[in-house]
């Protein structure tokens, strides 16, 4: 049998096994830009977790207080659609919102969406907030980076909110706001972790709010957090989750507010198919050329050793 390693000329299997990276990357551009320029409407099936998430979100009342744990910029890029859609629902329901963070850029992300009350800078949802008369201090308060300090902080918040929180992020005392009667976790109707970097349920909020006080705990998950969180949904600690970009798109569809999630569905579909195609092509090349080439190289190396 001819030695395929030494064969001159073009070898299709070899080309399939070793596709140059620049062509791979070029295809990504073509798929992304093509999908955005020539969108196809795809009907979307709503997943079980999104339905659960929405079922709790849709029951919010104007007297409910929602605790919002911020998303870092890197997770916001993935969960943007769900982040905006969830805040949209909260604003439309008129529920009270308390935003808290444990990393520096989470507040910037929140203000990018809700606007900056200190400077009057507008955010993505500012027009909706004006329409619904949803105002800072009356309807939502930003407490700033109060979630530092690990588990002890969450325990303090859950058991002795007034002992731990005194001001908002700008130093304004919370007395006189809707937070003055919040004593602990039991006074929150819901917690939303808006873009955690890992699974939730076994985290501090899960342990000290959801498990101890049975607060409804929802998560807007990035991809790697979906599988670990699923187990906590089944035990009832987490009540629902949005599964990354797809979940956000489903929520946008449910609430009838198309946004970045639905717009990205085409790209998501074609991207997945392209990836599958690459795996298949790569393996055809592997079985057609690479495996034989490696075996022949091993035989040659073994022969030289002798």
């Amino acid at each position: 049998m001819k030695n395929m390693v030494e064969k001159e000329g073009f070898n299709l299997f070899k080309a399939m096994a070793y596709i140059d990276r620049k062509y791979l990357f070029l295809m990504v551009f073509i798929i992304t830009i093509g999908s955005l320029l020539f969108p196809i409407s795809i009907p979307i099936q709503i997943g079980k977790n999104t339905n659960l998430y929405y079922s709790y979100l849709s029951k919010l009342k104007s007297t409910d207080i929602v605790m919002w744990k911020g998303a870092t910029f890197r997770s916001y890029m993935e969960v943007k659609s769900g982040y905006i859609a969830t805040l949209r629902v909260i604003i439309e329901k008129g529920a009270k919102l308390v935003a808290m963070y444990d990393e520096g850029d989470q507040q910037s992300v929140f203000q990018m969406v809700m606007g900056n009350p200190s400077t009057g800078a507008s955010g993505i949802l500012t027009s909706l907030m004006e329409q619904k008369n949803y105002k800072y201090w009356d309807n939502y308060i930003d407490l700033g980076m109060v979630l530092l300090g690990g588990e002890a902080t969450y325990v303090s918040l859950a058991r002795n909110f007034q002992g731990y929180i005194h001001n908002d992020y700008a130093g304004r005392p919370i007395q006189g706001s809707f937070l003055e009667n919040v004593n602990g976790a039991a006074d929150f109707a819901m917690i939303i972790d808006s873009g955690p970097l890992a699974g939730i349920g076994g985290d501090f909020l899960g342990r000290h709010f959801a498990m101890d006080y049975k607060v409804v705990y929802l998560g807007n998950m990035i991809g790697v957090g979906i599988a670990p969180t699923q187990t906590y949904i089944e035990t009832g600690i987490v009540k629902g989750m949005l599964e990354s970009g797809r979940g956000g798109a489903e929520l946008e569809y449910l609430i009838g507010a198309p946004g970045p999630g639905l717009a990205a569905l085409n790209v998501m579909t074609l991207g997945h198919y392209y990836f599958i195609a690459l795996i298949i092509i790569g393996n055809i090349g592997y079985f057609g050329w690479e495996r034989k080439a490696r075996r022949e190289e091993e035989i040659r190396a073994g022969g030289q050793k002798k």
């Binding site: 990276r21 890197r74 520096g104 101890d212």
Partner: protein, 231 residues
């Protein structure tokens, strides 16, 4: 545990190959690049610091450089002095204190993706012979792929269950979950530390027994184990 007899430990290929990786890099005349994670102290960072200690010692023995990119989180500066101490002590212990260069442990950025960009840039510029990726999250694949592109041997830490699958394919060697946490004990070969790994096995066995007994009891409509484990 009988005195003097080490308990049986299965091989963790990713840890066994570290010595070969350092040797390979030295033969190629290229440095070793290792990261120990982006956050301040957590269990994986503690374990990775033990690996760093081992790698630094090996590198010092063969007069090679260890490059340790640091950053990715505001808390990463907390761990930096510890890491600098570890590497410096390793070189001094081998009598090669003059080879230690603190500039080989650059703080790149506390901003996550800025750190990732700097890390990738370091790989491309320094072209290490081996890259030992610590407990990284979304960026782990970037480092492994870039390391493969420059021909480095890659050893990755599977920090997330989701990451493990991809790193197992993309990296040459991967430490899955508790293998990374056992690194310090495994590499030291000290009896007291290796015995603690046997403790992990005992507790795992207990967990298996609890699961099996719990499943049987639930079939018999008895929730004793569930109630016992409910907080």
């Amino acid at each position: 545990m009988r005195r003097g007899k080490l308990p049986y430990l299965r091989r963790v290929l990713a840890l066994d190959v570290i010595e070969d990786a350092v040797g390979r890099s030295t033969e190629m005349g290229r440095p070793i690049l290792e990261s120990y994670g982006t956050v301040a102290f957590d269990q994986f960072v503690i374990a990775s610091l033990s690996t760093l200690s081992y790698v630094a010692r090996l590198a010092a023995k063969v007069d090679n450089r260890v490059i340790v990119p640091i950053g990715g989180n505001p808390g990463s500066m907390i761990t930096r002095p510890v890491a600098v101490d570890i590497v410096k002590s390793a070189y001094e212990a081998e009598g090669k204190g003059e080879l230690f260069n603190e500039n080989d442990m650059p703080f790149l950025s506390y901003e996550f993706f800025s750190f990732a960009a700097g890390y990738v840039g370091l790989i491309l510029r320094e072209r290490p012979g081996a890259v030992i990726v610590g407990p990284e999250t979304a960026d782990a694949l970037m480092y492994v792929e870039e390391a493969n592109a420059v021909g480095a041997l890659t050893i990755a830490t599977g920090y997330y269950i989701a990451n493990v699958a991809v790193l197992a394919c993309a990296a040459n060697y991967v430490m899955i979950g508790e293998e990374a946490l056992a690194a310090g004990a495994y590499l030291s070969k000290e009896q007291s530390r290796i015995t603690s790994l046997r403790t992990v096995d005992i507790f795992k066995f207990l967990a298996i027994v609890l699961v099996v007994v719990g499943v049987i009891l639930v079939q018999l409509k008895n929730n004793f184990i569930i109630d016992l484990l409910s907080i």
